[in-house]
Subunit: 417 residues, 2 copies
Amino acid sequence: MTVVTNSFSVNGATYHPVESPIVVICIDGSADEYLDISMAFDKMPNVKCMSKQGYRGMVRGALPSFTNVNNSSIVTGVSPAVHGISGNFFYDTEKDKEVMMNSSEYLRAETILAAAADAGRKVAVVTAKEKLRDILSYKMKGIAISAEKANQAKKETHGIDDVEAIVGYQTPAIYSADASLFVLRAGVALIEKGLADFLYLSLTDYMQHTYAPETKESLDFYEAMDKEVGKLLALGAIVGATADHGMNAKVKEDGSPNVLFVEDMLQEQFGDHFRVICPITDPYVKHHGALGSYVVVHVADKSIINEVKNWLAMQPGITEVYDKATAVRVLEQPEDRTGDLVVLSARDVVVGRSPQYHDLSALDGTLRSHGGRYEEMVPMIISHPLNETYKKKAAGDPRNFNIFDFTINGTNEGANV
Amino acid sequence: MTVVTNSFSVNGATYHPVESPIVVICIDGSADEYLDISMAFDKMPNVKCMSKQGYRGMVRGALPSFTNVNNSSIVTGVSPAVHGISGNFFYDTEKDKEVMMNSSEYLRAETILAAAADAGRKVAVVTAKEKLRDILSYKMKGIAISAEKANQAKKETHGIDDVEAIVGYQTPAIYSADASLFVLRAGVALIEKGLADFLYLSLTDYMQHTYAPETKESLDFYEAMDKEVGKLLALGAIVGATADHGMNAKVKEDGSPNVLFVEDMLQEQFGDHFRVICPITDPYVKHHGALGSYVVVHVADKSIINEVKNWLAMQPGITEVYDKATAVRVLEQPEDRTGDLVVLSARDVVVGRSPQYHDLSALDGTLRSHGGRYEEMVPMIISHPLNETYKKKAAGDPRNFNIFDFTINGTNEGANV
């Protein structure tokens, strides 16, 4: 089997892949604490080996620290300001409409995956949630499947038939550890069978939303993931792993959700001028009840924006408030898909709209969520030693969406990178 | 030997120590990455054992993420807004004077150490740097020594004679790994010899300022620390460890310091209205050249504060800007010891005054520093299992300055906590 090693460029960066299979894994919602405690219990010998022989450190994700935002960044290599996906929802002020962004028509950048395929690599993207498949496979020639709908994949639309037979596992339930494990198992099978040599494997954070790092369920899950990583390494893959965001408990001492309903707060203080958008809102209701640590506020009366900003900045539980211009620069937001104000909340606090917009009865257990500053920093682990250029880069302000760059160029001693 | 187990209260919290020696360690400048990579290389079997049998997680430090600020918080259990130590320097506007705060006369809260001693415990505080001894031993009956001046300790002033003979090591050089190891060794010796049963051991971050986590020097240092932790555990101590702040490289791609000189920037833009205070400034010149990721700005013309704030918020490398009222609330600052504006910089950026205030020639190697948001989150490790109350507390927004609370009350199953 000949592997193509053509270099390719996309969004201003050039990638020089070697022949070995390249595998990038996004461990959805994997705060560093999950790795720490799993490794203390010796559950992750393969990832431990990666840390020793390659690299382990922290990288900064994109904000809001949500799944779609960061998956879009990872496959394009650029920030939300460039690729345009700033959450699952935004409010289109011109059309006066709340718009769902779960589709590639909202993506404003090309993907590394499509470019690699155009350069001749056998590309596969496997995602746990079907919702991500459309964005991740944008303009891409190759295999694009989800664990959630693995049994519906067809050659014409997904680049592959008979996924269950090839992977050797049945389509898993989406609210399960198996949903993520299926993604990794599919990656192993695709390499083993010579069907792919350039892979992006994007897991789901159902387990992290539901279980704290030190629980038996979580330790078992990380152990099972590590086994699949070991198989990827045994197949000769260069593996880079990161997360889209971290995860924190967002509850009061009595275990109930620790929520600030921002639209209600503003209405009480200033009257009926506000529309609060929770860009974490998505159809996977068991995860977080549409409550994260980041909301966007649209203010009908623009003359009071500064006053509202200053008032919000003084409310307990709110940690950062930005006007649009500052959000565009500091939070790297696309100007037309953010709001007049952006609000971030504390490590243990989520922000919502009004109680009627949030159904918490569907949660499996406690409220653990993300979206804000305290879920911004995530781990990055690379299986092979970094060259001198990328050692320096790792010691600066590396981003989780540099993961393809680190995995491909950072481990390539030969290329003129 | 009888150990007193009286409960005691200080700054609104009550502590219920058991008979076992209580040891709290502040691993100065220990970003979590130092533990991660040292444990991947199996250098820390004792801390690994603590993580498994007790607890390992992340806690939020006080801002600015400086040594004195966080040491003051740790020994008082409260934020800088309460204890008053907001850095090494502040500008006293009434006296028009820059005031050094390295002394207990600026401390506005009682300490847990003094209260424990009053309740009958044999208390010892051992610090690497002499500068911290005065604050940490404020009103305290017991032993208070520094590694830096161990050979100058006297019964009347330090509560102990012949420190070198008791510890079995000579007074170390302050710019060394030994400066921190001496602190831990002193802790071991004091417990072994029955001289203390309630200890605070505060290390120095010279090694972290000088070496990245994956360097041989750092791995050797963490291995040597772990050995002493093992001796503390073998003596039956309940050990809690945290850090005052993290540590990040603050350099450009060419390795040169990545500095924004804020006073010069403001003068060029707005004229001669500004005094920038770098509250990291201290006499230990080899660490950071008075460059951290947090400065305070005093504005002579109060009418332009808002304009200056908005301008600063748009400058690349600057990540957060607060006016005084917001800094007091969000950053927990004492109102009379902060400035008109507070400025925080990016993970790889430091903020300074003007070049003439910063001598970088004394640095041992590269510029690694702290002070900002990206050095706020630090590890917390407790040797014994947490009770149910403190498991919940750990899953909220625990602080590094709750470390005595977690170590004492969190591991106490019997007390009515």
